[in-house]
């Protein structure tokens, strides 16, 4: 057990406590960025002018008539930008574009005394466009060879030879959809400028440091002139990792030019039409199996739909390639990745960050091939699990593969899988118009940012003279319970009750140069840093404690102050032992793997394709949980969000040749449906894997944000099994993703015909 992972006696970590803001949430007292508007005077409101073309050159932009609208104060255009007119880190995202790259692209922004004035001002802005040809789908992009960024190949052994000599070879393709984040809180920024010209932006951002950097470069200021704060977010899910920056920059630009606070809050439609989403992918594959049902080779090409700019598409693609194996040993493998450039929103991070997309490919392959091999899907999956000593396609040894087996066996048992499989078969024999499906799927997910430099965290811990403690860290709170966990870590490290510790909002002037709160790594990185800061302080008190063994904490602190001992500390943590070579796609990018397994049962109506998620059982590995109630919530919520992606959430763009080509057709809650109460499993049993101590993370825990999302493959595979039950034995079912009732209907109709 490492000093990082070892817990003291009676730790506060591990206690199932409620979210630190729960009482504020339930009473409506918790403040989000837009709730601050009423606490400022003279606030201006920003409204975009959105282009009605998927691709067009702007030939004229005349803002003069907007100024005739009562209440319009200013229109922000490219000529107002004192610094760099770019909202990204790849310099391919002009903040005020001269060429429209997607339907709804913001051309300029109007500031008004009221939102109504700004909205009317935006309607009055005159823009002439010269429409240009637009590429909408990945398939169109492949035909036009429209790609951007890197095109990596991950390879081990000789996939071609392995496939040539395999006993069974299959090939196929799949085109699957992305996902809208639909955080309940849309993007928001509120910018003010103080008497010194210091810019202060409150932003719904998962990445305050990058919001700060991009705001600064747009304004032409050094980073020390811009401070970014995030109180909390109403959900992030990756959607607020890159996307907030340009919006914050617009608000800050407006504030510096007018001297007044500027609020920029997107409506749901603006948020859905302007900000990036989970990448949809297109994949082609050839796979080989031996007679013992073991995968012997895989050759696949994954093409992601990157949208109009690179954004995070490259690291998303890397993670997709790193998760094509999921939990399975593939001795000879070659996977090529490409990023399509299309005239859509710039697709970005979303919980799992490419991992789910990579895993969907292999799970789809196994689901389709099992009947062709005459195999039971659960048996085919189980036979191909990694064993100790094997490495991933990128060369990282698979640590603790036995935990995958443990989770699998436990959930199989607690779900009474074998017994229920018999029951399902009996049900299906007796019901010609309704069929049930039962499936079990595994998850192995690598934890750490692929890009090694991001794996650092910072914290600032103050002990005041009265013994009370205030902590600050570089992570942001979006509902995932990071702040709750950090309070527990600090209380544990200092040996204090939770009531002694408070937490202050995330700000770039408290902890600088932070990484995004992303990659599930928030608790690992910031927890390591908080613990480090606390230990520095305790270290300085060692002698005093030895001299005053009976002193209370408050007494000890008082003595320390008078002895001129520093009572605050900046903590730092970096994840050790990581390596990643992006050119060869090899290394050990992950500190460890998180494991889980899920069993899902569905019932499908043969007349309509409508289905019921009857029961879900999960055993998931969170290491030794830092905060069991929080972790349970992450597992359940991640699972349902994953099920939404795979079964319900249906992003549709207009791909016709009409003038509305490129318009997002599902741009509101009435057309884009996410899971509601009716989609939650009727029976839902989640257990955390026991005795799952992780040596390489703070207090033996594991990251939990993303991995559970991929447990939802069990639902997709259960639907496939139910569709197959409408047909003759051994039928292989191709299922679209998302598997909406319509998609399920066509799949079952195909199976029975």
């Amino acid at each position: 057990m490492s000093s990082l992972s070892e817990r003291p006696a009676n730790p506060v970590v591990g206690q199932a406590i409620e979210h630190e803001s729960a009482a504020l949430h339930v009473t409506g007292h918790a403040l989000y960025t837009d709730d601050l508007v009423g606490r400022h005077h003279g606030v201006l409101h920003a409204h975009p002018v959105q282009a009605p073309h998927a691709h067009a050159r702007i030939t004229r932009l005349d803002t003069s008539s907007a100024h005739d609208v009562p209440g319009v104060v200013r229109v922000l255009t490219a000529s107002d930008v004192p610094g760099i007119n770019d909202a990204g880190i790849k310099h391919d995202e002009p903040l005020f574009p001269d060429e429209v790259q997607y339907f709804g692209h913001a051309v300029c922004w109007v500031l008004g005394e009221t939102l109504e004035a700004a909205r009317r001002g935006a309607l009055a802005v005159e823009v002439d466009y010269e429409p240009l040809p637009a590429i909408l789908t990945v398939v169109e992009a492949i035909e036009a060879a429209s790609y951007q960024g890197m095109a990596p190949v991950m390879a081990r052994g000789d996939a071609e030879t392995a496939l040539a000599s395999a006993a069974h070879v299959f090939e196929g393709e799949i085109d699957f959809a992305g996902q809208e984040h639909f955080y309940l809180e849309t993007h928001c920024a509120l910018a003010t400028v103080d008497e010194n010209g210091q810019v202060f932006v409150q932003s719904s951002t998962q990445h305050p440091t990058e919001t700060q950097e991009i705001t600064a470069h747009v304004l032409g200021l050094p980073s020390n002139r811009v401070t970014v704060q995030c109180l909390r977010m109403g959900g992030g899910f990756g959607g607020k990792e890159m996307q907030p920056h340009g919006l914050a920059a617009v608000a800050a630009l407006g504030a510096t030019l007018t001297g007044r606070p500027v609020r920029l809050r997107l409506t749901r439609q603006q948020d859905m039409t302007m900000t990036g989403k989970r990448h949809g992918f297109h994949a082609t594959w050839r796979v080989g199996f031996d007679d013992a049902l073991r995968i012997v080779g895989l050759d696949a090409t994954l093409t992601s739909d990157g949208g109009w700019s690179l954004d995070l598409s490259e690291p998303v693609l890397s993670r997709a390639l790193c998760h094509v194996d999921n939990a399975y040993w593939v001795p000879d493998i070659r996977v090529q990745g490409r990023i399509a450039r299309t005239n859509k929103t710039s697709q970005t991070a979303f919980r799992g960050f490419g991992g789910p997309q990579g895993m969907l490919v292999i799970e789809d392959i196994l689901g389709r091939c099992a009947p062709l091999l005459g195999a039971e899907p659960d048996d085919l999956r189980r036979r191909n699990f990694y064993v100790e000593g094997q490495t991933t396609p990128y060369g990282q040894p698979v640590r603790h593969p036995e935990r995958m087996v443990l989770a699998w066996n436990q959930v199989r048992e607690s779900a009474t899988y074998d017994e229920r499989l018999r029951e399902v078969r009996t049900f299906n024999e007796e019901h010609p118009h309704a069929k049930r499906g039962l499936a079990i799927t595994p998850v192995k997910f690598g934890i750490s940012f692929n890009f090694t430099a991001f794996n650092q965290g910072g914290a600032l811990v103050h002990v005041y003279k009265d013994g009370s403690v205030l902590i600050n860290h570089g992570g942001t709170e979006m509902g995932q319970g990071l702040h709750t966990k950090m309070l527990q870590v600090a209380a544990t490290a200092l040996g204090l009750p939770l009531s002694k510790v408070r937490l202050a909002p995330t700000r770039t002037d408290k902890v600088p140069n932070t990484s995004a709160t992303a990659a599930s790594a928030g608790a690992d990185l910031n927890g390591g840093a908080v613990k480090n800061a606390c230990e520095q302080i305790l270290g300085r008190l060692t002698e005093l404690r030895a001299a005053n063994p009976e002193a209370s904490w408050e007494e000890l602190v008082r003595l320390a102050y008078h002895a001129r001992i520093q009572l605050w500390a900046a903590g730092f943590y970096r994840t050790e032992g990581l390596s990643w070579d992006v050119t060869t796609m090899t290394g050990s990018p992950f500190k460890y793997f998180a494991y889980g397994a899920a069993v899902a049962e569905v019932e499908v109506d043969g007349f309509t394709g409508a289905y019921d998620l009857r029961r879900v059982d999960i055993v998931h590995d969170v290491g030794d949980s830092l905060s069991p109630l929080v972790d349970l919530g992450q597992v359940e919520g991640g699972f349902v969000q994953g099920a939404g992606w795979l079964t319900l959430e249906d992003l549709r763009w207009d791909t016709s040749d009409k003038p509305t080509r490129g318009r997002l057709s599902t741009q509101s809650a009435s057309t884009y449906k996410l899971p509601s109460f009716s989609e939650t499993p009727t029976e839902f049993h989640v257990k955390l894997l026991e005795h799952a101590h992780e040596d390489g993370a703070v207090y033996g825990s594991k990251a939990v944000g993303e991995p559970p999302l991929m447990l939802a493959f069990s639902v997709r595979e259960a639907l496939r099994a139910a569709c197959a039950a409408f047909g003759p034995p051994g039928v292989s079912v191709e299922l679209a993703s998302p598997a909406t009732p319509e998609a399920v209907y066509w799949a079952l109709d195909e199976a029975r015909s």
């Binding site: 409620e18 979210h19 803001s21 729960a22 009482a23 504020l24 949430h25 339930v26 009473t27 409506g28 007292h29 989000y32 837009d34 709730d35 009423g38 109504e116 309607l123 984040h181 639909f182 955080y183 309940l184 849309t186 909390r232 977010m233 109403g234 959900g235 992030g236 899910f237 409506t267 749901r268 979006m478 509902g479 007349f607 309509t608 409508a610 109630l629 919530g633 919520g637 991640g638 699972f639 349902v640 969000q641 319900l648 057709s665 509101s668 809650a669 009435s670 057309t671 449906k673 899971p675 509601s676 109460f677 009716s678 989609e679 939650t680 839902f684 909406t740 009732p741 319509e742 209907y745």
Partner: protein, 473 residues
């Protein structure tokens, strides 16, 4: 002076632009617990409680959850509103808030105040079984959460017992809700009028036929929020006494029937749902509609008259009412007329209703046919818009279909009757062969289109399958 009592405090409507919705109004009061998540009544993050007359018609109050984003603040003149802040404080949590907090019912917390209000409305419903484990989850069908997966929210709801006797919100139920207050407000561009009577409403429409009539505002509110609609005159008719009847009477046209059910066009769908449940009149087809119609939050505001008035081809009520052979009563200062619903719709969002007419009643002849079903095809069972909706009302005597009425939504520019299918069924035996023949006819009804909800091919297939499914159920 026009105003709204919010959390016990009078808040003036003076100077508030008339397009301001209740959500923006309470947020401008500094009560920022209610949130805008979608601005179209789909997510429930804006849910607040409004004191409304109990649906049983007694002089008591029911705390009714509404989407505050859809209602003009002006429409709440003289009313009592409670937000999440008014239920409890961080130091003294309300029982609903307590259960949500301790069970992990909030993660990011953004949807939470809305969930709390929807849950509190059900907690205070007078006819709810007041013990743990008896929570009607449909009360939360209009609230979306993106974080939790709902299990802890359901557990919180199921843990709720009955309110304490000294709970002030519970006590408030025992006295009458505020009456609708005649309102006349004006700003620089527009007027808002809640007339004192049906007669006055009709007189206004006779004088100003371009007025926007709202009867719950769940459709108009979306146009205001998402499309920037701004009516120069908005007339609210939803709480007019003359539009709130609900009674079974002898038929005016037939002496052989069991009479007819006359439903006031200004009753909310929730009120109709509840009155039907306790009524001696049995209308299972109409009862089957409500749980599938949008969400409780919408049904608490939306009225039947409003649903027919907007004339949407994908409204869920018209197929059911078409199958029930309902009529609508249209009134103007010139008098009233009764129009069969099958002749009411004339085109996409168009009807025979003149702009100076109001729908006052919906009349359903009794008895209804005995074999009925409502099939709604959508992506999501809760809170979704139909791809296709099919309502069947069949009379089967001695194995033969003696009468068939079938209403369809989502397959044409208007809701339609499946006349060819009805003809294919009537007089034929109710057996596999004639069902299959009729299902093929039904699949060819209407002119379905491809859109983001479903393909045309799927819509047609679902039409035919709805009859096949009915025949084996």
């Amino acid at each position: 002076m026009a105003g709204i009592v919010v959390n016990g405090e009078e808040r003036s409507l003076d100077g508030v632009p008339l397009h301001t919705n209740l959500l923006d109004f309470v947020r401008a009061c500094g009560l920022t617990g209610a949130k805008e998540g979608c601005a179209e009544g789909e997510c429930g993050a804006c849910s607040v409680l409004v004191a409304r007359p109990s649906p049983d018609g007694s002089d008591t109050t029911e705390w009714t959850a509404l989407n505050s984003c859809l209602v003009p603040a002006a429409a709440l003149d003289g009313q009592e509103v409670v937000t999440a802040e008014g239920l409890g404080t961080p130091e003294h949590l309300h029982p609903v808030q307590h259960e949500m907090a301790v069970r992990g019912g909030s993660q990011c917390g953004y949807c939470t105040p809305g969930f709390v209000c929807s849950m509190a409305a059900e907690y205070y419903r007078a006819d709810r079984p007041g013990h743990a484990g008896h929570f009607d989850i449909h009360a939360l069908s209009g609230n979306l959460c993106r974080c939790t997966g709902y299990r802890p929210i359901k557990d919180a709801a199921d843990a709720l017992g009955a309110p304490d006797a000294d709970d002030p919100m519970a006590r408030r139920r025992t006295t009458a809700a505020p009456a609708a207050v005649p309102t006349g407000l004006r700003d620089a561009e527009s007027r808002f009028i809640r007339p004192p009577s049906l007669e006055r409403a009709l007189a206004i429409l006779a004088e100003e036929p371009d007025a926007t009539v709202v009867a719950g505002s769940t459709d108009w509110g979306v146009d205001v929020n998402l499309k920037g609609a701004r009516g120069s005159l908005v007339v609210a008719v939803d709480r007019l006494d003359g539009l709130r009847g609900f009674e079974t009477v002898a038929s005016a046209t037939s002496s052989t029937s069991d009479g007819e059910l006359r439903i006031g066009a200004g009753l909310t769908l929730s009120e109709i749902e509840r009155r039907l449940a306790v009524s001696a009149t049995r209308l299972p087809l109409l009862a089957a509609l409500f749980p599938q119609f949008a969400s409780r939050l919408i049904r608490n505001g939306a009225t039947l008259g409003g649903n027919l008035g907007t004339g949407s081809p994908i409204g869920d009520a018209p197929p059911v009412l078409l199958a029930l052979e309902a009529s609508v009563v249209l009134a103007s200062t010139a008098g009233t007329r009764t129009v069969p619903l099958s002749e009411y719709f004339t085109g996409y969002r168009e009807s025979v209703r003149h702009s100076d007419e109001l729908i006052t009643e919906v009349v359903v002849p009794l008895p209804a046919s005995t074999t009925t079903a409502f099939h709604k095809i959508a992506k999501r069972p809760f809170d979704d818009i139909s791809s296709v909706a099919v309502a069947f009302a069949l009379e089967i005597e001695d194995g033969t279909v003696s009468k068939a009425r079938i209403g369809l939504g989502g397959v044409a520019a208007t809701p339609i009757r499946a006349l060819a299918t009805e003809a294919a069924l009537e007089g034929r035996p109710w057996d596999a062969d004639s069902v299959e023949a009729a299902a093929r006819v039904l699949a060819g009804e209407g002119t379905p289109i491809d859109d983001m909800r479903a393909s045309a091919r799927f819509r047609s297939e679902m039409l035919g399958n709805s009859l096949r499914k009915l025949s084996v159920s």
